[in-house]
Symmetry: D2
Subunit: 347 residues, 4 copies
């Protein structure tokens, strides 16, 4: 039985992790912690967990002291707040899966430029692994520190990597990612703009040209391409709770058909349990509540462009589900354990 | 041209008032004020008003000094904050329409018991009028201080008054009002429970047995009945922005049919511009964006009960629209002026 | 391994059943059928099931021929369409859980009066059991034909039964059930009134005084009370996909407190896995995706009334989840098997 | 008083037109017609119009006979159904504003290729004017037959035209329009995919590479550029009723800043009543219920691209509002008449 500690359990990603681990046959939640709600029961903050997870929330300090008692530490804290936790967990020989951006970027300069924070655990960057199993499974196997990818980045990287790995398939100077996210992606914040009365029945773009997931996407697709790539990434907020729908545009360098692109996707992910290649169109609701990333493709022969649709649940494959997938890998469990059940709420 | 000053313009009711007066042929917004946003433009807080209302928001203090320049003062502040404004407006011989509960209750003891605040302008209670034109039009005509009714209360009182005025029609000991409101009714507050990610796709009851609109409903229906009446009032929050749907249950003392009840409603409101009596069923969307109160009725011959549905837009007939209706009356304008246009957003 | 056949798998209740059984450790979906979509893959109708349930949908006729191969037949068809299926299943010595109203009512006259259909399997009414485990667990154990309760009725009966079983606690002549349901409750129908553009952001009542769940509620609460009871039941449609919130009003005959009512609920359901008694307020989202029925209570000492809130997911405890709970009981499995996992989509 | 006849009044665009004209000071609705609902009252189909527009719906045939009695005919019918109406209206010397695509495309070959219909009034194409006042005001003034633009096209053309008119500002080979629309844009159709239970809380793309608004956008932006331009247009459906948000990407040929782009927009639309240039970000709710097109711009200096956000209400500036704007122009009224009032439902 894998003992898991969740530091930062009362954000949306943290609570989703609690939900998944509560149903995991080979893992158990050893402790949950929260800065804002320490001392209260988890089910007081998320009443849907009443009689399911009534554990008392530790403070972050108490959580640090409890690291010794667990096998895996999950940190779902804001960026820049888990440096010392990581050091402590590594020193104690524990495994750690971090939800923040603190260990995702290989180049500390890029991190400090985009996140405007000084990195206080540079020495750990060498040993961390970027936790996207579909790309880095072998490296994750032996890892102690896993940087769990962002939500937009997961949907984007899975789709774009497959294209850029095909030598000369697309013009890597014109990759545009127009992403649409549910509102849980903005977190559980006391923010007027996130109120139902404001965010409901409306769409907006944000962070145009400056969203911090941009360098993360560029890092990973550049590695896949074997050369530096810049992408245009624009996130939007939709009036829905869960889900990300990324629409990806790339100019084609070759005369290919939609079927050819599906072959490319098949080659890349045909054996992946959590990537589904759809001949029909994607809809975000098809993946909500699950750990799937759905992909569909269309070639526009008129404009010589390929348009890829990539969908995930931002809280599952985009956060907690992927974190458990990583936990399963580093703990030698079946990668899909605790993740195979589709939410029964669909449609 | 009626000069109107709006104190507390950046709440949802206040902003709706700005919207209505901006389109009013015989009124103009002389000033808008806000505690939280003084010094900013109204359209910075509500960008939909860009190029429509770009006035700079006064502080409450500046607004008080500006009372002298207007004909009508609208106060859309939290309860207990407009006592001195009312005194000043009355002293200056101005008209005032207040959105709070401060002048709605005739009995100061009831006010202080339910609102846990000491009333600091008791002397004004004698001269105030309860601003429900369908019941108190003649009194409103000459009034200087109009207490604009609450949203739930407007929907409830219009329906129940018609029933209780019919001698012996219903058993006044068993009146149950189950009301469903859109989320704007909870205001523009930094409150986790009002986030789209929390309030969306869910329903809840709140304030059971203790909601402050209860004594207001009881006061008005008791006057209509000519005897003291207690009602059971339970509000619910729905995942929608606007609208109130009140389902009202009363035991019948007479053998009457649905048609008989429609005659009762016809007699009560047949000539009212802003009350629509529907043979078909009400839906809250049918009144959203308008100043209408829609009513429909069904008699259950099996249980000898009448069920009335009453719908309003909580921000229009439940707040700003009714306030303008009151302004029109006290200023001698056509009661419907500026209120006849149905929102073109429907459906 | 329990072999289950699902007749009528493409309605919302049917597809939820597929979802639950797909994750059930001791059951498997032997076949799925559909009148409208026979010959197509289940995952073509519900693409979220791609790579999860790609079985080809049988026609109803083919499904009947396949009854012999399964242990349990689930029928999720419109009322009046499963009479011959039930006869065939019983003749073949199979277990059957029926989602329609055809076997819920003990009195065939009541059925024919409210459903305006002639009952064509009267002989089976004697052996059927009403499938509400919290009330009829022992009878269900040995049953072959289980009438799975309706959604509104499940939420209502669980709450009201506890009250009426307390000798003299409430005045059984004034029980009012004001229920609010998500739109999946209206089914997967080509109906303009169910379009997002119509049903979104709005509330309506329907079936006032005539909804067919009324006699079903009355039958069960009358049994619990040991005398005939009439209830006032009014359903409403809310702009949300899943969930039912029932607000139940009853006049008190005794001087009791909120705590006393909680004792009553504790005595009735304290040991029930799928009934959660909440001291805090219910919200429909707290049960969405789960098989729970949440209850909370408040006494209004001013009006001498008790108000109970009862919430379920209309598709889970109100349909497919309860059906699986019944299957578990009649097949001798752990009653909670396959039902313990809370949807990970929350909130 | 302009007499207007509305043929096809019960679609969402038609009903919005009824709503606007009902409030228009210098126009009146002479008749409304409907194929599906002829003989019923308009307010039976749209109950929100009860006591506002209770006119009986004519059949299309009756409507044709009534053309002689009106000044302006509005046709809001599916593509290909108003050819003979247009001939009749022109023969009778009437003005006509058509909502379909039948007269939008200059080249009949392009029409027949994209719409798979034979054009049956080719002779009228020479005299029609494309009804986008911000581009073709002078031509509209004298026109008899106005082709009212599509919703996606209005939002797209207004934004892109300004860019391409600037000699050498952008690379016209890489214009990508990623558009997000509310569900009313899919019409009032008995279509499972448009049900609240399906379309709610989800996003999808549709018509990738083949949407019929593509040639319309290309025709107009090519004229503005003075050369042939192809665009990549991808529409998406959002869980909201109203509004379009178009995100437009173009590669820059010059070193320009965000401010420079705002100068370009100012030059193009600074004097336009219904185009608002926002320094802040657009949100679709800011224009819902109004006839505005909101524009904002950002230059990504890292990627040398400009990203324009363009928002309209698909039913107002994208359909009925623009149609009334056109009517005002061709009838010599103030262009903004009946269109200046912002919906009071906001937010």
């Amino acid at each position: 039985m894998v003992k898991a500690g969740i530091i930062g359990a009362t954000g949306y990603a943290g609570q989703t992790l609690v939900g998944i681990l509560t149903n995991h046959p080979d893992a158990e939640v050893a402790f949950v912690s929260s800065n804002s709600y320490a001392g209260q029961k988890f089910s007081e903050i998320y009443p849907q967990y009443y009689e399911i997870c009534d554990q008392t929330l530790l403070s972050t300090e108490e959580a640090k002291d409890a690291i010794g008692d667990v096998d895996v530490v999950f940190t779902a804290l804001p960026n820049g707040l888990s440096f010392d936790i990581a050091k402590k967990a590594m020193a104690a020989g524990k495994k750690m899966v971090d939800f923040s951006a603190d260990y995702r970027l290989d180049d500390v300069k890029v991190y400090e430029e985009w996140y405007k924070t000084e990195h206080q655990a540079k020495e750990l960057l060498a040993q961390k692994v970027y936790g996207l199993p579909e790309l880095w499974r072998d490296q994750i196997k032996g890892a102690s520190l896993v940087a769990n990818p962002g939500c937009y980045t997961t949907a984007s990287i899975i789709a774009v990597s497959a294209l850029v790995r095909e030598e000369g398939l697309i013009d890597t100077n014109h990759i545009i990612i127009d992403a649409k996210s549910g509102i849980t992606g903005s977190g559980r914040k006391k923010d007027i703009s996130l109120l139902y009365s404001e965010a409901g029945e409306s769409v907006k773009a944000y962070g145009i040209a400056h969203h911090r997931h941009t360098p993360e996407i560029e890092q990973e697709v550049s590695k896949a391409a074997g050369k530096d790539i810049m992408v245009q990434f624009t996130p939007h907020l939709m009036p829905m709770k869960h889900g990300i729908f990324a629409t990806i545009y790339a100019d084609l360098n070759k005369n290919v058909t939609t079927d050819d692109i599906y072959d490319v996707l098949e080659n890349a992910y045909g054996d992946e349990k959590f990537v589904r290649i759809r001949k029909g169109m994607c809809e975000s609701r098809f993946v909500v509540g699950s750990n799937y990333c759905d992909l569909s493709a269309r070639v526009d022969e008129r404009t010589h462009r390929v348009i890829i649709s990539s969908c995930i649940d931002n809280m599952v494959k985009g956060a907690a589900g992927q974190a458990v997938q990583n936990m399963n890998i580093i703990c030698g469990l079946d990668e899909a354990e605790g993740l195979s059940n589709l939410s029964i709420v669909a449609p």
